[in-house]
Every structure is written in structure tokens, then in C-alpha cells.
Symmetry: C2
Subunit: 335 residues, 2 copies
């Protein structure tokens, strides 16, 4: 049995979507034990009583709240209570689709960073033309330093080695040209650090090649990573909508699309972020899964599945040991 | 008759694609007079002799060359000779699909900036679910300052008013959340400048909403703008490829897609950057059109069409006057 803590009040469609996701996860995963954290009023009607424990709180962090303020003024909010359960080793992983800034700040404050890590980062799995890849940082930090980008690459490499046993994953740096020296100041300096590292660094990658699947890890600052992530989601949806608008112009097209709707469904499933569950926050002492703010029940269930897997392998501990072996020294932090 | 200068050696498929584009533009646009700038060896076989003048040079800037170096060491390169023709008022617009950094640097050096403008910026038209919109800066600058972002917004607003007569276009700032205060330091400071300006500023926009068409102008630093632009291009192509891979799995799907191929073709045309021609470099004293590095003949022809239009309305002069009226004072440049 693996205990997972779930923030019932996190996300645009909370609590309804979160509770539905919890229900279907409990039905589907027999090894799952869930801590549900939220208001008594909301939780009292939850239909499953086995393998479930309620943690009542009326406080929660709103999606638009400033994380620093929230942690000072709402220490009893669902996000922070979930992280407490992780800290106390009662839960093995924590899932929230809530205010991701508050999850990051709370994780650093309550769980602490893995020794040597300066900035934890969100590692998001994304579909490509070939195998899925990792985008890091997908939004935990803005205004990163070159050394942070290097550390993101180290963490993502160890992460992929841990979860997929893929040794020496290929790392690329997101920039505006493939050549050395292309990019802004941050990227040009990070390029030097990555080039002289032991990582399997293969240079810059341009936006247009990101989804080709030629690299395993794309590294960037969280501001750009988050914009790229959301741009991709929005574009994928809009492209299908534009296509649909064209199809509507003729009955023949409509018939054609009807015949191939199975392919479109399979394609949608393959590119749907909801299928990928949540994204781990790498670099903190605990398995924290950040789920999309727009998560529906299906996305929450998949995030719990993800959390269950990370709890089983104890990702955070493995990553901690690997980072230690990789010798990210405290001294390095000065650079 | 309008004279346009064309860099025959610019772009990944130069000179072949450029010359083909030139030929089809001359056939299609009867008011067009072309200065073709490139090696004698390359130009001597060009089949059209009327409304054409050759400017011979063996020098050109390679795609991966550092712009600063190029302008020092290769003053006779095709890009710089094209800009000279503009400066001398022999040509009314200049088109290049070559090294965009060299076009930007050359434009600033040879033509000069419009008074009050600190950093020229590339304004790219992009399709959305509704009307096309402008993304500025699409890659002329990296590491912009907050004040630059404000100026980009001013230039793009005046640009849209000039070319479409759309008064008071809606401006949004690309960020990682819609709320005030979301974003990195650059965006947070630019937000303040834009809020207190006379522009029709409607706040931050997230990546996922960029292609919805709810705003007319999306403002960002050129590093992010260029990544977003190329990411979008790559993703649109990859999505069609992923869809095709799913379709291949059944004869029924293949039949369906065959029937609706007209819709897919129309959709492709609508979202193809080649249809949009080049992007103007706003803020310099001359009509400079930067075309995609991967331009084929069709894209070059459309960039020439674009240049012809900007030459007719004399975009740069109109923009210069508008900026003057808008009172971007030299004093402001300190902030």
C-alpha cells in the first residue's frame, strides 16, 4: 500500500474534478491509499471510505495568490498540509493541481532542497514524433541563472536514467539558433557550462525541432518553458479547431473526417497532456507532483498514477543519492 | 513602378529558390522593378531582362556568421549593398532571407533608426482562429529592456493602424499568467510601462491563448518571440505528421483523409508561414523585409509582394511620422 496526499482544493475545476479523479484512481489502483485534504463540507459526501483518510481544512491557496504571501498567511492551506504529510513520512507523494508557485515555495520551505540543488525545477514529459521527452524547467522558476540551467540538465538526466533506465540521455539547450554563441546571455553562458560537463550535451535546439524527438531533454528557463508548454497545448487545440472549420465547408470533407475519426481520436489521445498525468518537481526532498491547473478528473487520475509510481521507486530519494554521487558541490553554488 | 532590392544570396535555399521567386514575382507584379544582388556567375543566366538590374558582388554573409564581424569585414556583401540601395533611395524596399542578425545590424548601421526608437524589432503576422495578429519582437533583439518592450508595442500599434487602418489595436504582453505581477522581471516592469501608456493595453496573455485571436498584438523579447515562432511552425508540421501516422493504421482512415484532403490543403495554406511573406523590421529608416531562412520560391515571391505593398505606402516614412507624433522623446530613452 502506498499513501498519496491529494490537494482537493487545487485547480480550476476543484473540488469536483479532483474528487472524481480520486474516486476513479481508488477504483483502479488497489495499492493506493489516499489522504484527501480539503474542507469537511466538501469531503463528507465522498463515497469511498476504505483506503482513504480525510484531513480537514477550510484554508486553500487561490490560483492567483502570491506564493510568498500564501505561505506566511495561510500555513493551514491544503497545499501546505499535504506537504506536511510528506515531511512526516505519512504520505509518499503529494499531488496538487493548485497554485504551482505555492507548491514550489511550500516544497522548498517545508521539505527542503536536496543538498547541492539551488533551484528545484518542474520536469514535464511531452510527446514527440518519436519517444516522449522531458522539458525542464516548465515553470518553477523565472529569471534563472546559467548555473541553474546546468543543474536542471543534471537533474533531468538522472531522472530519465532512474525512471526509464535510459543511460546518458541527450540534452539540448533551447535557443534561437543551433550554432554556439546563438541566444541570449543566459543561454550563451549555460552553453559553456553544459559543454564542459559530463552530460551528453548535444548543443542548442531551436523551437521548430523540439517535437522531433531527436533529444531526450530540452533545458530552458521556467519562464520560457512555461510559455512553450502552454503555447503547444493551445496550438494543438487550435489547429484541430482550424481544421474542423475547413472541414465544415463541404459534406464530402465531413464524410471523410467521419471515416477517419478513429485516427483523430488516437492522435488526440497521444498528444493530450491529460494522459501524461502530472509533472514532478525535481530537487526537493519528497515526491511532489504538480498537475495542470486545468486538470479534469481524468488528468487527476493520471497524476495520481504518476505519483504512485514515483512513490514506489521513491524517486526523490534515488535522485538525492544520484545527485550526491554526481557531486554537485556546495562550492559550485557560488558560480 | 516600384524598385525593390533583393538579396539573391540570402536563405538556406539561395540562390536557386530566391531567383525562382524573383522570376515569378516579376511575372505576377507588373509594377515591380527588381535589383538583384549577387555574384555575376549566378545572375548571368537569369531569364528576364526587363524591369531588372543586376548588382554584382561575390561577397555574402553566411547564415551562421556573427553579424558584427560581417559588417566589419564584408561591407560589400549582398545584404549591405541592398541596404545601400535603400539608403540612396534607388530602391524603395529591401528583401532578404539571409542572416537576420546581419540584416538588423546592417539596417541600423546603414539606414539608421527612426528618431526616438532604441531597438528596431521584427513584426511577424501570424494566423489565429480569427484575424491575423502581430508578434513583436520575432527575433531582432535578445535581452531587451522593459522600455524596449513598450516601444515594440507602440511601433506595432502604429504599424497596424497604418496597414489595416485598425485604430487602437489591442496589445497584450506574453507571460506565464494573466494576473498583474505574473512573469519574469522584464515582463513585470514592462507591464507597468504599458499600463500607464495611451496604448490599448489589455494585460498579460498566456501562451495557450496566443492563437485565439482575441488580441491584435503580442509583445515579447525577441529571444522568446523567435522560439515561439519556430515552435509554432514546427508543431504545426509535426501535428500533421503525427496525424498522418495514425491515419496510416487503417484503410478506412486513409479513405477518409483522402476525401477530406481539400480541407487539409486549405488548412495548410491558411497556417503556412510561406503565405505571409516576410516580416518588416520596424524602427529603421527604410522598408526592410526579413524573410524566413527556409524560404522557398513561393515564400520569396510573397515576401516581394509584401515589400511592394510597403514600398507603395512607404511604411517606414509613415511609421517615422507617426512615432514622431506619438512623442517617443529622446529623454525617455534614459528610463
Amino acid at each position: 500500500m502506498y499513501s498519496i496526499a491529494l490537494d482537493v482544493m487545487g485547480g480550476d475545476y476543484a473540488p469536483t474534478a479532483v474528487l472524481e479523479g480520486a474516486r476513479s484512481a481508488l477504483r483502479q489502483f488497489s495499492e493506493l491509499f489516499l489522504y484527501l485534504i480539503g474542507p469537511q463540507e466538501v469531503l463528507k459526501g465522498f463515497p469511498i471510505k476504505e483506503r482513504v483518510k480525510f484531513v480537514f481544512t477550510d484554508e486553500y491557496v487561490r490560483m492567483d495568490e502570491a506564493p510568498g504571501e500564501a505561505i506566511k498567511k495561510k500555513r493551514g492551506a491544503s497545499i501546505f498540509l499535504g506537504l506536511d504529510l510528506l515531511k512526516e513520512n505519512k504520505a509518499k507523494a503529494f499531488v496538487s493541481a493548485g497554485n504551482s508557485g505555492a507548491v514550489v515555495a511550500g516544497s522548498i520551505f517545508i521539505l527542503g532542497r536536496i543538498s547541492g540543488v539551488r533551484r528545484p525545477a518542474i520536469a514535464t514529459l511531452l510527446p514527440t514524433l518519436k519517444e516522449p521527452m522531458v522539458l525542464i524547467d516548465a515553470g518553477a522558476n523565472v529569471d534563472s541563472k546559467p548555473y541553474d540551467l546546468y543543474q536542471f540538465a543534471v537533474m533531468a538526466s538522472l531522472f530519465l536514467e532512474t525512471i526509464w533506465g535510459r543511460p546518458n540521455p541527450k540534452v539540448a539547450l533551447l535557443s534561437i539558433g543551433e550554432e554556439t554563441g546563438k541566444g541570449n546571455q543566459l543561454v550563451r553562458e549555460a552553453y559553456k557550462l553544459l559543454s564542459s560537463s559530463n552530460l551528453n550535451f548535444c548543443g542548442n535546439i531551436e523551437g521548430r525541432d523540439m517535437y522531433r524527438g531527436d533529444v531526450d531533454i530540452v533545458v530552458c528557463d521556467g519562464f520560457i518553458g512555461n510559455i512553450c508548454l502552454k503555447l503547444s497545448e493551445g496550438l494543438a487545440e487550435n489547429i484541430l479547431e482550424m481544421l474542423k472549420n475547413e472541414v465544415k465547408k463541404s459534406y464530402l470533407y465531413i464524410l471523410g473526417m467521419y471515416l477517419s475519426k478513429g485516427a483523430i481520436k488516437a492522435f488526440k489521445k497521444r498528444t493530450d497532456w491529460r494522459e501524461y498525468g502530472g509533472a514532478p518537481l525535481l530537487g526537493v526532498k519528497g515526491n511532489v507532483i504538480i498537475s495542470h491547473g486545468k486538470s479534469d478528473a481524468h488528468a487527476i487520475k493520471n497524476a495520481i498514477r504518476q505519483a504512485l509510481y514515483f512513490a514506489k521507486i521513491d524517486l526523490a530519494s534515488q535522485l538525492g543519492r544520484a545527485i550526491e554521487e554526481h557531486k554537485i558541490e556546495e562550492d559550485d553554488l557560488e558560480s
